[in-house]
């Protein structure tokens, strides 16, 4: 065995998967996992662990895999992460744990993400619940939002013995894991639901269809409902648009809408009541992970799919793996182009998009080379659907109805990094609602930090 190379992970054939919503990556089996685990150098100073936002003891769980002790491996992960089956699938490991792996210096880093996923899947398939609820301490915490930040915070608090209730605005818990990330990257029934079930088994109560800020307020939770603290993990749900002409035409979606219809409402299934209109040719505007998700979804619904992005390949903010998968499946990348107008037919339906070519100029504030328009290079891409995937910002619905909760100029809740404390006593926050749109794992890290912060606040009380 060549130890510089990873054990390859099995995937659905690109041509087959471009027409279905089944998971793309099939994961390791036991034999493959043990083989990959044996590549770990077991470094004395494990940099991988420093690269993990929730500080999983990575060498320890890999060692257990190598020994074939999968339960023990699950126990190690459970000490740090409540959602390993999800993180193993959607974390950007290449810039975190795997980016720091010493193996990676002279070869490919250990597939830490795939190993984490293996352990989580093994535990689920073998009904092994690693974490146990703590001794009840009689204190109540309300969690607002059941996405990655909220779930992590809820799980950690339940382990410490808190009585936790999670409030979710949608009819299903999971937040972005359910409405945003598509089935082919993160299966809902097979992975997300069981992970949430694990948290429920720790005694966490879920109340769906409750919009904190509308159905109930933070004041009521604290003053009338007897909660001792509140954690806000409401994410970044507001879609951005470009404000170009024609953007309100029929056939222009926000990525949020397109993905919510498909993921949460299951519009891709025949038996769903929610319609989705994909057309024959779809243009997705943007280059992030959400843009990749939207494009790969449109492709699976049968459309020729283009990604229009104003910078070049090197600046695509999406994970390499996502770009690679999208391309393999047949998504066409129209790089260094920017939409300037959406063209419509007589019934106000999209019929095309006018774009202008761009070139890269001097680096901007983000350090990336700034795209500059090439004069006179406008042309029209024919299309019947446009999906705007330009990022999202936090929803003001909760902050605008809560006294004493300060936000910054981007609408993000101001919270202390070390403990999640907001400007309102007893109220903590974390995840995209604080940072602006980021990743699942950073939200989980923030949920974890806030759980510790809440514990310190309430035990010091």
């Amino acid at each position: 065995m060549d130890l510089t190379k990873r054990v390859p992970v099995r995937e659905q054939d690109p041509r087959a998967r471009a027409t279905n919503f089944d998971e793309v990556c099939l994961g390791y089996d036991e034999e493959e996992a043990v083989a990959e685990a044996s590549r770990c150098l077991n470094c004395r100073n494990p940099l991988c662990q420093q690269g993990c936002p929730v500080s999983i003891n990575i060498p320890a769980f890999i060692r257990q895999i190598r020994e074939g002790n999968f339960e023990a491996a699950a126990d190690v992960i459970a000490q740090a992460s409540a959602l390993p089956a999800i993180c193993g699938r959607v974390c950007p490991q290449e810039t975190q744990c795997e980016g720091k792996c010493i193996r990676g210096i002279k070869g490919e880093p250990v597939s830490i993400g795939k190993l984490e996923r293996f352990v989580a899947d093994w535990a689920r398939n073998n009904d092994y619940q690693a974490a146990k609820a703590g001794e009840p301490n009689g204190k109540k915490v309300a969690i607002v939002g059941s996405g990655p930040a909220g779930l992590t915070c809820a799980g950690d608090l339940a382990l410490m013995g808190y009585q936790v209730t999670v409030f979710e605005a949608f009819h299903q818990p999971g937040g972005v894991l359910v409405y945003g990330i598509p089935e082919f990257r993160l299966p809902k029934d097979a992975v997300v639901k069981p992970e949430i079930e694990k948290i429920r088994k720790l005694g966490v109560r879920f109340e769906t269809n409750v919009i904190v800020g509308r159905s109930i307020t933070i004041d009521e939770l604290l003053d009338e409902q007897g909660y001792d603290a509140v954690f806000i993990g409401t994410g970044a749900g507001l879609p951005k648009f470009m404000n170009i002409p024609g953007e309100i035409a029929n056939g222009v979606y926000s990525a949020n809408e397109f993905l919510t219809r498909n993921n949460l409402m299951k519009a891709y299934r025949q038996d769903s009541d929610t319609p989705i209109r994909c057309g024959k040719k779809v243009v997705v505007v943007g280059g992030g992970n959400v843009a990749m998700d939207a494009a790969r979804t449109a492709l699976r619904l049968g459309a020729e799919t283009h990604i229009v992005y104003r910078r070049s390949e090197a600046e695509l903010p999406a994970r390499r793996e996502e770009v690679h998968h999208a391309r393999e499946e047949g998504v066409i990348f129209d790089l260094l182009q920017n939409p300037i107008e959406i063209l419509t037919d007589e019934n106000d339906w999209v019929r095309g998009m006018k774009v202008i070519k761009m070139e890269l100029g001097e680096p901007d504030a983000s350090g990336r080379r700034r795209p500059v328009e090439v004069p006179g290079s406008e042309y029209v891409i024919d299309c019947d659907t446009v999906i705007m995937s330009l990022g999202t910002s936090p929803n003001p619905m909760l902050t605008s109805t809560t006294q004493g909760l300060e936000v910054n100029s981007h609408g993000c809740i101001i919270a202390r990094e070390e403990n999640g404390e907001t400007t309102r006593k007893g109220v903590f926050a974390g995840g995209d609602a604080v940072s602006g749109a980021a990743t699942v794992i950073l939200a989980m890290g923030a949920g974890k930090t806030a759980a510790r912060g809440i514990d310190e606040y309430l035990s010091g009380k």
Binding site: H171, G237, L238, E247, N250, M265, N395, M397
Partner: protein, 293 residues
């Protein structure tokens, strides 16, 4: 959970339901709406709140069967439960936060068409409780489509009825009555609220603009989450894009782009028609409706 306490078949396609929904009833205000869902694969349907009882913790909704989702909703019986209900959504009517003293100097004219009677009722009820005078024009195609008349009369100063076919009240449409009251009878109104089909709100707004009466309308576009997340409910007001779910649903009637709103409302017409066709075929009466739900 979300138990249906009362089902009333109002007319051919119109239904009324009273549902247990404590979270909504505790805090809802006139002008707000809710979202319901029927069945695990059901669509999220935004509906206006017709009435609420804070003690019983129930809300009353009125809806028209326009597609598969509303047809499914209409099949639910008393004692059964909705799969989901969530709210209150949207901003309350502006008057809720105005000085009651100032409000009492105003005379309101409400124009409601079709199921638009439903959201008007809690507004009139609220205003009359605060001592504000309200006249209400209830407009419908024919007599059997008028509902809640008695309740409306119990809270409004005057109720005027128009029907397209003349089967009840004055023959004509809502705007005919507006003109009659204002131009012929010389009545004065400080504010108008028009709620109903988009086309009716459009013409009512054109009419009140001419008569110089500030007008509020309530938009009910296609929506998914109702919390500002998806942007499906985008409409244009005064040249600016607004999200009806969080910026509204009520807007200045003289500034809404109604033609655009009507085009956007037809986005899924083909899909809806096909789905309804399939639904009706499978609902010949010989099979149990639960199968489809």
């Amino acid at each position: 959970m979300y138990r249906i306490l009362k089902v009333q078949h109002l007319s051919e396609k119109n239904w009324l339901m009273e549902i247990e929904a404590p979270y909504i009833t505790r805090r809802c205000q006139p002008g707000q709406f809710l979202i319901v869902r029927t069945g695990e694969m059901g669509e999220r349907i935004p509906l206006t709140i017709c009435d609420y009882d804070r003690e019983k913790e129930t809300v009353t909704i009125v809806f028209q069967v326009v597609g598969v989702s509303t047809a499914r909703l209409s099949e639910l019986k008393e004692g059964e439960c909705l799969t989901d209900i969530v709210g209150p959504l949207g901003r309350p009517s502006d008057f809720v936060n105005e000085d009651p003293e100032e409000l009492r100097k105003m005379h309101y004219l409400f124009v409601c068409g079709g199921v638009g009677i439903a959201p008007v009722y809690p507004q009139v009820k609220w205003l009359s409780r605060h001592g504000v005078k309200c006249d209400v024009i209830m407009a419908a195609r024919s007599r059997d489509l008028i509902f809640y008349e008695e309740q409306m009369r119990s809270v409004a100063e005057n109720v005027f009825i128009t029907t397209d076919d003349g089967s009840y009240g004055m023959k004509g449409v809502g705007t005919d009555m507006v003109r009659k009251l204002v131009s012929e009878e010389g009545r004065h109104y400080d504010r108008c609220v028009a709620i109903g089909p988009v086309i009716m709100m459009k013409f009512t707004s054109l009419c009140t603009k001419e008569l110089g009466i500030p007008t509020v309308v309530s938009m009910n576009p296609i929506m998914i989450d109702g919390t500002g997340m998806c942007g499906a409910c985008r409409i244009v007001v005064d040249g600016k894009v607004k999200f009806a779910c969080v910026d509204g649903p009520e807007f200045d009637g003289h500034l809404v782009d109604y033609d655009l709103a009507m085009k956007r409302a037809r986005q899924y017409k083909e899909e809806e028609t096909a789905a309804m066709h399939e639904y009706e075929e499978h609902h010949c009466g010989c099979c149990d409706r639960k199968e489809a739900a």
